[in-house]
C-alpha cells in the first residue's frame, strides 16, 4: 500500500462513494450549528418534509449575535436588545427543540463560540469529519480531524443525509522547524505563514502543519494555527495526533470512556502522515525567524513583523498588488506613518475563535498584570470563548488582573471579531485585535483592524500603540 498523508487517511476512512468525475460522497461525524448560517437550512428541511439523519451528530450553540455585557446577558435570550439578533437566536433555540438537537443555549454555562465549545466538550475528536456553517471550522483540524466550513445549503445537506459531496483537495505541508522565540505564539506563526504564502496560497489544498515549531504548541496554540488556515485560502488545516492531543481529549464530557477510550486511542495513533507520504507542495519556515506579527492592511497577508516598516504601494511591481496596497493604505489611514508603532490605537479586542481560550487569556493577563491600560484608549475588552473558559479564568483570578489594569471582562461570544452584536469599531478607529480578519468594515463600518497575538494585543493596550511585547515586559 502506498504511503498516505494524514489528509489522505481521513478522506479514505470517510469515503462513502467515489464518483467518476472526481467528486465523492463523504460521511460527516460531527456538525456544529450556530444561529447565523442554520435558520435557512432548518427551513429547507421543514419545507421538504425531511428529518435529520442522525441527531446525535449535531451540537448547537448561539455565538455570533449574542451580547457580551452582563446587563444584556442576565435574562438570556430575552435580554438581547437588538430585535433582529434576538429573532435569530430564538430561531436556533426553536429549531433545536423541534428537531431534538443538543443545544447549549444562552443560559447554559457551556455556551460559547462553536469552535471553542466543540473541543472543550470532547465533541471534536481525532479522526472525525467535522463541519459547520462557518469558515473557521478548520480550527478542529488541530485534533487530526478533517474539518472545514460549509455554506447553508450544505448544512441542510449534512442534516438530511449525514454526507457531503466533496472533491478531494491537494496536499500541502507547511513545516515550521526549530524553536519559537520568547513571546512568539501560535498566532505569530500562522500570520507569518499567511504572509509567506498569501491569502490564496492554500486555495485548493488541505494544509498539514508540522515540524518542531508546531509540535511544541499546546492544543490551544494548535487550534489557533488551524483556525487561520482559511485565511491562507485552505478550507482544511491539519495537525498530526500525538500525546498532547490525546491528553487534551481525555476525560472531556463527550470523549469516549473505558473500553471505547482504549480502542479510540489505538486508532488515533495512526493519525499521522506516513513517513514517505508525498505532498504536492511543501513550505518550510524557520521558527527562529518569526517575530511578533502585526497586520497593517485589509487582508491577513498584509502582515509584517513589529520591527519592520510598513510596505508602500509604490514599491510593488505587480499592478494588482500595487492597487491593493494603495487602497489598503488609504482605508487604514497610514499616510505619514512609517511603522506600526506610529499608529495610535482606539480599541483593543482580546477574544474570537482564534484567541479566546484559557491559554490566550493567561498570556494576556501575564502581560497586563500590575500595569494600566493607556489613557488614550477608548476601550479594551476581553471576551472569553465560552462560559467554561470564563469560569476557569475567574477561578484563576484573571478577571481581576484585567479589570485592575483597565480592561473590561465580558460574557462569551464572537463579539467584536465580526461585530454582529453591539461590540464594534467606529469609523476610522484603529483596533489591536486577536481575531482573524482585517477586512474593510469587518469590525464595524470604517473600522481599522490590526491582527495580533494576545500578548501583542495586551502590550498594545498598555502602550496605546503597537510595541514588541518583549520590550514592554523588560520594564
Amino acid at each position: 500500500m502506498s504511503a498516505k498523508t494524514l489528509y489522505d487517511k481521513l478522506w479514505d476512512s470517510h469515503l462513502v462513494q467515489q464518483r467518476d468525475d472526481g467528486s465523492a460522497l463523504i460521511y460527516i461525524d460531527l456538525q456544529l450549528l450556530h444561529e447565523v448560517t442554520s435558520p435557512q437550512a432548518f427551513e429547507g428541511l421543514r419545507m421538504a418534509g425531511r428529518k435529520p439523519w442522525r441527531i446525535s451528530s449535531s451540537l448547537a450553540t448561539p455565538d455570533h449575535n449574542v451580547p457580551t455585557t452582563k446587563k444584556e446577558r442576565i435574562s438570556g435570550v430575552e435580554g438581547i436588545e437588538d430585535p433582529v439578533s434576538k429573532i435569530q437566536v430564538t430561531t436556533l433555540d426553536d429549531n433545536c427543540n423541534e428537531f431534538g438537537i443538543t443545544e447549549f443555549n444562552m443560559k447554559d454555562i457551556r455556551q460559547g463560540i462553536v469552535h471553542v465549545v466543540g473541543p472543550e466538550q470532547g465533541a471534536t475528536l481525532p479522526g472525525m469529519t467535522v463541519v459547520c456553517g462557518d469558515s473557521h471550522t478548520s480550527t478542529h483540524g488541530a485534533f487530526g480531524a478533517l474539518a472545514h466550513g460549509i455554506g447553508t445549503s450544505e448544512v441542510e445537506h449534512v442534516l438530511a443525509t449525514q454526507c457531503l459531496v466533496q472533491k478531494k483537495s491537494r496536499n500541502m505541508l507547511v513545516r515550521v522547524d526549530g524553536e519559537l522565540s520568547p513571546w512568539v505564539s501560535a498566532k505569530d506563526v500562522v500570520l507569518a505563514i499567511i504572509g509567506a504564502i498569501g491569502t490564496a496560497g492554500g486555495t485548493g489544498y488541505a494544509i498539514e502543519f508540522g515540524g518542531t515549531g508546531i509540535q511544541s504548541l499546546s492544543m490551544e496554540g494548535r487550534m489557533t494555527v488551524c483556525n487561520m488556515a482559511i485565511e491562507a485560502g485552505a478550507r482544511v488545516g491539519l495537525i498530526a495526533v500525538d500525546d498532547t492531543t490525546i491528553e487534551y481529549v481525555k476525560g472531556r464530557p463527550y470523549a469516549p470512556k473505558g473500553e471505547h477510550w482504549d480502542m479510540a486511542v489505538e486508532a488515533w495513533k495512526d493519525l499521522v502522515s506516513d513517513k514517505d507520504a508525498q505532498f504536492d507542495e511543501v513550505v518550510v519556515i524557520k521558527a527562529e525567524d518569526i517575530k511578533p506579527q502585526v497586520t497593517w492592511g485589509t487582508s491577513p497577508e498584509m502582515v509584517i513583523a513589529i520591527d519592520e516598516a510598513i510596505p508602500r504601494a509604490e514599491d510593488q511591481t505587480d499592478p494588482v498588488k500595487k492597487e491593493g496596497y494603495a487602497r489598503a493604505w488609504k482605508y487604514m489611514g497610514l499616510e505619514g506613518k512609517t511603522t506600526l508603532a506610529d499608529v495610535t490605537l482606539d480599541r483593543v479586542f482580546i477574544g474570537s475563535c482564534t484567541n479566546s481560550r484559557i491559554e490566550d487569556l493567561r498570556i494576556a493577563a501575564d502581560v497586563v498584570k500590575g500595569r494600566k491600560v493607556a489613557s488614550s484608549l477608548k476601550q479594551a475588552i476581553v471576551v472569553p470563548g465560552s462560559g467554561l473558559v470564563k469560569a476557569q479564568a475567574e477561578k484563576e483570578g484573571l478577571h481581576h488582573i484585567f479589570e485592575e489594569a483597565g480592561l473590561e471582562w465580558r460574557e462569551p461570544g464572537c463579539s467584536m471579531c465580526l461585530a454582529m452584536n453591539a461590540d464594534k469599531l467606529g469609523a476610522g478607529e484603529h483596533c489591536a485585535s486577536t481575531s482573524n480578519r482585517n477586512f474593510e468594515g469587518r469590525q464595524g463600518f470604517g473600522g481599522r483592524t490590526h491582527l495580533v497575538s494576545p500578548a501583542m494585543a495586551a502590550a498594545a493596550a498598555i502602550a496605546g500603540h503597537f510595541i514588541d511585547v518583549n520590550e514592554l515586559v523588560k520594564h
Binding site: R19, D29, D134, S135, G151, H157, T161, V320, F439, G441
Partner: protein, 216 residues
Amino acid sequence: MRPFTKHTGLAAPLDLANVDTDMIIPKQFLKSIKRTGFGKNLFDELRYQDEGQPDQPCEGRPLREEFVLNQPRYAGSSVLLARQNFGCGSSREHAPWALDDYGFRSVIAPSFADIFYNNCFKNGLLPIVLESEEVDQLFAEVSAKKGAQIVIDLEAQTVTSPSGTEFSFLVDNFRKHCLLNGLDDIGLTLQQEDSIRRYEEKRMNEAPWLFLSREH
C-alpha cells in the same frame, strides 16, 4: 433550483482583487432568517456612502457614484467580471444569495475562494474560472463598449466575449449536471441511502465511539 443552461447578459467589471465576503454582503445583513432579499445590500459598503442597516429601505441612500454597479451603463447587468481570489473570507452563503437576488447569473474571475465557489453552484449561480489574460480581455472589451454583452453556454462550456472571441472553461461533470437540470442535490444523495447505511454499519464496528448518543 433554477437551471442554468445558456445565458446572454450585460457584464459589469469589478476591478478589484481579493473581494471578500464581508464586502459582498456585510455582517449586519446576516441576521435575516430568510434566503431572499439580500440584493439591495449587495456590496453595501462599496455601493453606498452610509452604513446600511437591516430592514432599512435603500432608496435615497447616498451612493458612491464611482462604484461600478452605480454607473447607469451597467444597470441591469447579470454577469460580474471580477479579479483573483473572488469570494475569500467567510462561508456565508448570503454572498451568492445576494449576487443572485441582485440579478447576477454568473461571476467570471481568474480564481475563486473554495467555499464561495462551492456555494454558488447550490444557488444556480455559475462561477467561471478563465485565464488571467482572458479575463483581462473581457475587462477591456466590456469597458470599451457600452452595453457589451457576454454569452455563456454551460453545455458547451464556453464564454463568448462581446467581440466574438470564444473561451472555454472547466466545470465538474456532477455540478454541471445539477446546474443544467436545476437538481436539488439532497434528493440525489438520498438515492444513495443504502450506501450510506452500509458505510455506517462498517464504521460502527471500526469506531463505535463515534456513534454514541449524547445526553441532553
